[in-house]
Symmetry: C2
Subunit: 195 residues, 2 copies
């Protein structure tokens, strides 16, 4: 059951830009992020929602997209994300090393994206963004932007496949513009103890 | 639906040690970890399963437990984890900064623990472990242990509650030995943009 939802929770980079998301939904998704485990139960993550067209348009140029698709500059007008959740680290709150907050971030955004997929909303974690985003959204220095999660209704199809024996894991698009994601086979990622 | 499972996926530190887990189940859980998103689709994480009593007993003394419960040294005999999944970073594989692998680790272990909770198996992410664990399991230098996930059937009850206005998020145990986990309220973790 959860397996189906995990498979459905794929990274989407082209969206139905005109199908806007409202904050009520995002709030429910952030609540799922909130309920994830946290190192030392510290819960140092904070979230900023952006849903209106103007702010979304201002954020978009500061984002990097799909490194392996070198001839694709990112989603065209009409396919850009209708919403973002900016994940922030509250520096005053984080007692542990920042690496712990990054594990929390993976947990929290996975909860968020699983909840989104359940509602047929998909997203993309974007770690490549300009530091200007802080000034653009007037984010207090207390908070460090860690990740931008783009969200919306999918305007592309993504399929999982097994990586071949050459171990090439670069995602790629076919002629029908279907996005293929090679995952390493299970046998390749399980290591036997030597004990 | 996913919300219920997320709520059920709580950190457990006392287990029914005699209810052993077999590798078939762990393999299915690692497969869920495998299907999570990964920065640059790099998939640098590897997994080692430990299920037999002898190895589990040798690992146990190298783990740190529940920092806030200062008068509790960790689970007693009979309540120790019957299985572990050791999460490793394949140093040869990781092209991005290690922080990206840590986000992947949060995603992967959340998938694993959600799948576990669906089968009434619970776990604990343990970041506090002795580096001796590498030698103990004869882990090749190619792999860096990032996290130990203890797994088993729960022998304790955990309840979520809202953190109070003082912001104290330390978990605690009541007289009935129920473990309480204060989560920050949603209103405290959503920050409005200043834009």
């Amino acid at each position: 059951m959860i397996r189906e939802l995990i498979v459905k929770t794929r990274t989407i980079r082209r969206f139905k830009e005109d199908e806007r998301l409202d904050e009520t939904v995002l709030r429910k998704l952030i609540d799922l992020a909130r309920l994830g485990g946290s190192a030392r139960n510290g819960q140092p993550l904070r979230y900023m929602m952006v849903t209106d067209r103007q702010r979304c348009a201002r954020i978009f140029p500061h984002l990097g997209w799909a490194g392996y698709l070198t001839d694709w500059p990112g989603p065209a007008e009409g396919e850009r994300p209708p919403a973002y959740v900016i994940c922030l680290l509250d520096r005053r709150c984080c007692k542990g090393p920042e690496g712990e907050a990054l594990i929390d971030l993976g947990i929290a955004t996975q909860n968020l994206l699983l909840g989104a997929a359940e509602r047929d909303i998909h997203g993309c974690r974007i770690g490549s963004f300009s530091p200007d985003i802080g000034g653009l959204l007037r984010i207090d220095d207390r908070y460090k932007p860690l990740l931008v999660v783009a969200l919306g209704r999918a305007a592309e199809k993504v399929v999982l496949e097994e990586a071949g024996p050459d171990g090439d894991i670069r995602y790629w698009r076919d002629r029908q513009q279907v996005h293929h994601v090679p995952k390493r086979p299970l046998a390749d990622i399980i290591i036997a103890p030597g004990l």
